[in-house]
């Protein structure tokens, strides 16, 4: 139940990729037949992805090496290209580290960044967004949904504010693409980042949607591939895989969303009703169908992770990307959790291969694990030595 950290490649996707590894290995820039087959395969993939986010023109998509690069390219690309128009960026306190750290690196180059606070559910407040706009604001970058607490932002309202104020709008849709419907045309989105691995495609490939009016500067220079916006020989098998993965995700989105929502709610309701002093992080309804983030008082998330791992259940304490630092998740801190509550939160992310039985195993085993850990924990107060209803 740690799909957010890394998803298996769907076998249907791998099957589509295999011929491009060793048989159709041409370089799309080569004029000969091998090269042209590779080029065609890339364009099919580009169309499939454009289609899934309702982009009118597949030419508006650029392939990158993954979600992190897409976020970097979007934010650095648009701000450095348009810096004469202003040097102010608005983002939120709960963005992915690839957004936050790109913004921070731009601050060292003279940009000003507003990190909007969020409410207890993790929502950006539209009024605060409007109040933070200055004459120098050139970019609003706010995620579609948060991968840690599941909360889905009001992208349409944010897009409207950006549109009315003639500010570019970038959306990090890495955690939400393929899970909920995304529409770049409806929401005034200028730039949108997606990643392949989060939709059961291969790792090491992603895409950035760039609408025609938003022009960006590249961050990687070379042979001028991807209309000069992303140089480097195209990673054909992975691009093909990402296109197939997106096609499958789109076709199965409704049914799979309903299935996972049912499992998610069974997990959340089961844990919070059985185990005392537990609570859901993020909004109960406006959340990703696959995401359950649950806080457990008096326990370190790390001990819970290792205890669950021992019975074959993988979960996370937050974003895998930041797990190396011992700091608690910046997202949980931003929704108001104190340090120790943030440390005691577990992130369950369900996925395509999750079964109802997986939920039942967790629900049957977790109470005793929590009981044991709480009985050993110095954080547990004497008045509830059991810790379990």
């Amino acid at each position: 139940m740690d799909y957010a950290a890394g998803s298996p490649l769907d076998k249907r996707v791998l099957k589509e990729m295999i011929p491009y590894f060793a048989e159709q290995f041409g370089n799309p820039s080569s004029p000969h037949s091998f090269g042209q087959m590779a080029k065609n395969a890339i364009e099919v993939s580009r169309s499939r992805i454009a289609d899934s986010i309702n982009a009118k023109d597949s030419d508006d998509l650029v392939f990158t090496s993954g979600g992190t690069e897409s976020n970097n390219l979007a934010i650095r690309g648009i701000t450095t290209r348009h810096k004469e128009k202003g040097n102010h960026i608005i983002t939120s306190a709960i963005e992915h580290m690839s957004v936050i750290n790109t913004c921070k690196s731009l601050m060292r180059q003279g940009f000003e960044v507003t990190f909007l606070p969020v409410d207890n559910h993790g929502f950006v407040k539209i009024e605060e967004l409007e109040n933070s706009i200055t004459k120098k604001t050139i970019l609003i970058t706010i995620m579609y949904a948060n991968g840690e607490i599941g909360t889905i932002q009001p992208a349409e309202e944010i897009g409207k504010v950006a549109q009315e104020n003639e500010i570019f709008f970038h959306v990090d849709a890495i955690a939400s693409a393929g899970k909920i419907q995304i529409d770049v045309s409806e929401n005034f989105i200028d730039l949108l980042s997606i990643s392949s691995n989060d939709i059961y495609g291969p790792k090491g490939v992603g895409a950035l949607y760039i609408n025609k009016e938003a022009r960006i500067q590249p961050i990687i220079y070379g042979g001028g591939q991807e209309k000069g916006l992303r140089s480097g020989s195209e990673n054909v098998p992975s691009i093909v895989g990402m296109g197939k993965a997106m096609e499958i995700a789109k076709a199965e989105l409704k049914e799979e969303g309903a299935r996972l929502t049912k499992f998610r709610d069974k997990l959340i309701d089961g844990v919070t009703s059985t185990i005392k002093r537990t609570y859901l992080n993020g909004h109960p309804k406006k959340r990703l169908p696959n995401n359950a983030n649950i806080g457990f008082d008096y326990i370190e998330g790390e001990s819970l992770i290792l205890s669950l791992d021992a019975i074959g259940v993988q979960v996370s304490s937050g974003s895998a990307c930041t797990s190396k630092t011992l700091e608690p998740s910046h997202v949980l801190r931003a929704i108001g959790l104190p340090h120790e509550k943030a440390h005691g939160s577990l992130l369950f992310t369900l996925g395509r291969f999750s079964k109802e039985n997986d939920i039942e195993i967790v629900l049957s085993k977790l109470p005793n694990i929590v009981k044991r850990l709480r009985s050993m924990s110095p954080l547990t107060p004497k008045e509830i030595p059991e810790g379990v209803k």
Copy 2:
């Protein structure tokens, strides 16, 4: 015979990658068992690559999304990090576009760049290199061997000059890694770029060697993977594949080098002795074992490529990365070829799956193809209507 544009994945490499697609798909940053298996696999790969270039510490290697990114990261990373020490970069006129265009983008940010000319064989002259050094020179970036004309630079002499003048030395070894022995310790190399696809590994992954004394600034920010130098979830299957590819290349380097050198020379001697007004580009001996770049007077390379493609032989007119522009190769222009001669040059790159019979097919078919094209070409002078001995 277009291995330089894109190489097939070796089946032994694919076999090693497969488990990491769908079974061992953990995120190396996750503390649970799935994550730790992925982390271990990455470290095995890192050691294999360090070993193959004689790097003393595998920690000195950072994985990237490919050769182009490695070159960008090396050049931008070292110069922006050390810009207070100087703003002058020395490179050559025959570097890959990922080096040339990164240098040009740095010029727009206030750096000064010397593009050293090369002689008719494509060698950088050490005396000119020394003369171009100023007090502000912080980086010399010169390739190990040129992928288009095959010429192998005197890396050791260049490294000595860099060392004596306390200038960082970056080497683009993308075209040469796995083909000729590379030793970062012997040649005073601070930074060295390699790519996976050029050694029969997967596309979309590369590595940068960074010796401990050279500190660089990242170009992609996020979760702090790869010691903060390259954020983004690690592309585990591809990293595993690159390690295996490097291991195989190292084990087979001597034997394979001798085999390809024999084929290469058979091809060069066969073509230049059978067809009039043809000549070898690059040095006849100090060249990559797999590279034959041959000029054909009175013909457009493009027509030759398509005619050969029709009989199942893929070749190139230069670097695939720049084939979209109709400009002749900057490498061929730099070794002194006039516009029309550069346009009439063909790049044959041999590889692991090349057979002696492939050479024989080219030698038997090419004379008639050239004859036919020359008979139609407006460039052909009347005095040699045949064009073939």
